[in-house]
C-alpha cells in the first residue's frame, strides 16, 4: 500500500521526495536494530531498568517517550532557524520539559493509577538522553517531516527494547503478563501439583541488567556489531 501512495506522489510532483521514500524508511528502521538507542548507543538505560518490572506501566512509558520525542523533534525542527544557537540547549530543554509536564498532567487526570506508579520516571524523560540526543543531532538541522520520522524511529527502538525486557521480567518475576496470571493458568492446565516458582531477582533492577545484557549479546552476535 505504501508503495502505491509513493508512486502516486511521484507522478504528481516528480521533484518532491516520496512520502515514505527509501531514505525516510531508513530513518524509522535504523534505530530499531542497527542503531538502537538502548542496545547500540546505550542511552536511556536508567528508565529501561526502572520501569520495566511490569508490562502495563512500561507500555505507558513507551508511549509517553514516543510522544515526547516526536513532538519535541517537530517543534525544534520548525523553530530550527529561529533558535539562537547560543541558548539552543536551554530552548530544547524547555520544550522537552513542557511536553513531559503535559504528559504527566494528562496521566494524572486520566490514568491516576499509572500516574502514581510512573510519575517520577515520566518526569525523568526530560533527562532521557535519547530525546536530547535526537534534538541536537537531527531536528536542529533537518526538515519537520523527516524529524518526526526520525523521532518516531528512535522512540520505537527504545520502546521495543523496554517492552521486551518487561515481558521477561514480568513473566519470570511475577508469573504474569499485563497483570494476567500466566503461571497460575499453566498450573491450572497441568494440575495442582505443578507449581512454577517466580524469580525474585527479576523484580529487582538486577534482573533488568541481566535481560538487557542478554538482548544486547544476542543482537550483537547476529549483527556482528563491535564497539570501537
Amino acid at each position: 500500500m505504501s508503495t502505491e501512495t509513493a508512486e502516486k506522489v511521484l507522478e504528481e510532483k516528480k521533484d518532491v521526495e516520496a512520502f515514505l521514500s527509501k531514505r525516510r524508511k531508513k530513518l524509522i528502521t535504523d534505530p530499531l536494530v542497527d542503531d538502537n538507542p538502548i542496545t547500540i548507543q546505550v542511552l536511556g538505560i536508567c528508565s529501561a531498568l526502572a520501569v520495566t518490572t511490569q508490562l502495563q506501566p512500561t507500555m505507558i512509558m513507551a508511549l509517553s517517550v514516543i510522544f515526547v520525542i516526536v513532538m519535541s523533534n517537530l517543534v525544534i525542527s520548525l523553530l530550527r532557524n529561529k533558535i539562537p544557537s547560543r541558548v539552543r540547549i536551554i530552548v530544547q530543554l524547555a520544550i522537552v520539559a513542557t511536553l513531559v509536564t503535559l504528559v504527566n498532567e494528562v496521566l494524572k487526570a486520566f490514568a491516576y493509577d499509572m500516574y502514581k506508579e510512573l510519575s517520577v520516571f515520566v518526569g525523568l524523560i526530560i533527562t532521557n538522553c535519547i530525546v536530547m540526543g535526537r534534538l541536537e543531532a537531527y531536528a536542529m538541522g533537518n526538515k519537520p517531516y523527516d524529524s518526526i520520522l526520525d523521532g518516531f524511529g528512535s522512540g520505537l527502538g527504545y520502546s521495543w527494547i523496554i517492552l521486551a525486557v518487561a515481558f521477561f521480567r514480568e513473566l519470570l518475576g511475577s508469573g504474569s503478563l499485563f497483570g494476567v496470571p500466566v503461571y497460575d493458568a499453566i498450573s491450572g492446565l497441568i494440575g495442582e501439583d505443578f507449581n512454577l516458582a517466580t524469580n525474585g531477582l527479576m523484580v529487582s533492577p538486577v534482573g533488568a541488567f541481566i535481560i538487557l545484557g542478554l538482548i544486547i549479546w544476542v543482537q550483537r552476535s547476529k549483527t556482528g556489531y563491535v564497539e570501537h
Binding site: 524547555a94 498532567e105 502514581k116
Partner: protein
C-alpha cells in the same frame, strides 16, 4: 549564524511566556478531573482496608462513589478523642483533612479523620473503624489505612501506599500478600496495654500464633520499621478515641 543579544533575550522571553501559558492553561483545564481522580483513589484505599482488592478493581468509578456514600460515614477527632466539626469557623469533613499536612504538625495539634464502615443504610450498625496512618519509609513517606473490628482491638485489614520505596523490596508493602498478614492480629495485649503490631526482621517464619507480630520483609527492614513506627504513632494518637469506643461498647453490653 550570529544573533544579537536583543534577539536572544526576546526569543527567550517569548518562548517562556508561550510555554508558561500552555502549561498553566492545561493545568487549569485538567484540575477538576485530577482532583476527582485523587478523591477516587483515596476512597479506593479506604475501602481497601475492609473489602478485598479484587472487589474494588471490579467496580466502576461511579459504583465506588456510590458504595462509599452508602457504607462509609466519617468524622474528625482530635488527640483527646473529641469530635471536631469546625476549624477557625469553617466546617471540616474527614475527606477534606490532608493527613500528610497534619503529619508535619505536633501530634497534639493534628486533626485525625475516622472512617466508619457500616451496614447499608444503618450508620449505627458499625462493621469496622478505619484510621488513616502516615509515616516515613526508607526513601520517602508511607501511609495507609488501618481497619479495626468493633472490639477496636482486632485488625480487620490494612492498606499501605508509598511514595518511593524500592520496587520489589520496600514497595512490597502495597502487595495484597503482605497486607493480608495483618488480618486478625491484635493491637492491645491481655492487660489492655497498647502494643500495636510489629513486623519482624527476616521473612518466612510463621507468626500465626502471635497476636502482635507479623512476618517481615526480607531486604526491606527499614521500610518495615517505618511501618511499625507509623502504626504505633497513630494508634497512640487515636488511643483516646479508641478508649471512648470501648467505653461505649461496655455500656451497650450492660
Amino acid at each position: 549564524m550570529q544573533q544579537s543579544n536583543a534577539y536572544v533575550i526576546t526569543f527567550s522571553v517569548v518562548l517562556t511566556i508561550i510555554l508558561g501559558l500552555l502549561l498553566s492553561g492545561t493545568s487549569e483545564v485538567l484540575k477538576p478531573i485530577q482532583q476527582k481522580a485523587e478523591a477516587l483513589d483515596t476512597k479506593k484505599q479506604i475501602l481497601g482496608a475492609v473489602i478485598p482488592a479484587e472487589d474494588i478493581e471490579a467496580m466502576k468509578p461511579d459504583e465506588i462513589d456510590a458504595f462509599y456514600e452508602s457504607r462509609i460515614s466519617s468524622m474528625v477527632v482530635n488527640i483527646d478523642g473529641e469530635e471536631v466539626t469546625e476549624v477557625g469557623g469553617s466546617a471540616i469533613t474527614a475527606e477534606s483533612v490532608d493527613v500528610s499536612k497534619n503529619y508535619k504538625k505536633a501530634p497534639e495539634e493534628r486533626l485525625y479523620p475516622v472512617f466508619i464502615f457500616h451496614a447499608e443504610g444503618g450508620p449505627e450498625d458499625v462493621a469496622s473503624y478505619i484510621f488513616p496512618v502516615y509515616g516515613n519509609g526508607l526513601w520517602d513517606n508511607i501511609w495507609g489505612y488501618l481497619a479495626l473490628q468493633t472490639d477496636v482491638n482486632t485488625i480487620e485489614g490494612v492498606t499501605f501506599s508509598h511514595a518511593g520505596e524500592t520496587p520489589g523490596l520496600g514497595a512490597r508493602i502495597t502487595s495484597r500478600d503482605v497486607q493480608s498478614r495483618y488480618e486478625g492480629k491484635q493491637i492491645f495485649d491481655d492487660s489492655g496495654n497498647l502494643v500495636s503490631v510489629d513486623m519482624q526482621k527476616g521473612e518466612g517464619k510463621d507468626y500465626s500464633g502471635e497476636e502482635h507480630k507479623v512476618d517481615g520483609l526480607s531486604g526491606a527492614t527499614i521500610t518495615a520499621v517505618g511501618v511499625n513506627n507509623m502504626l504505633k504513632n497513630y494508634l497512640k494518637s487515636y488511643r483516646s478515641y479508641i478508649d471512648k469506643i470501648k467505653e461505649g461498647n461496655q455500656v451497650a453490653l450492660n
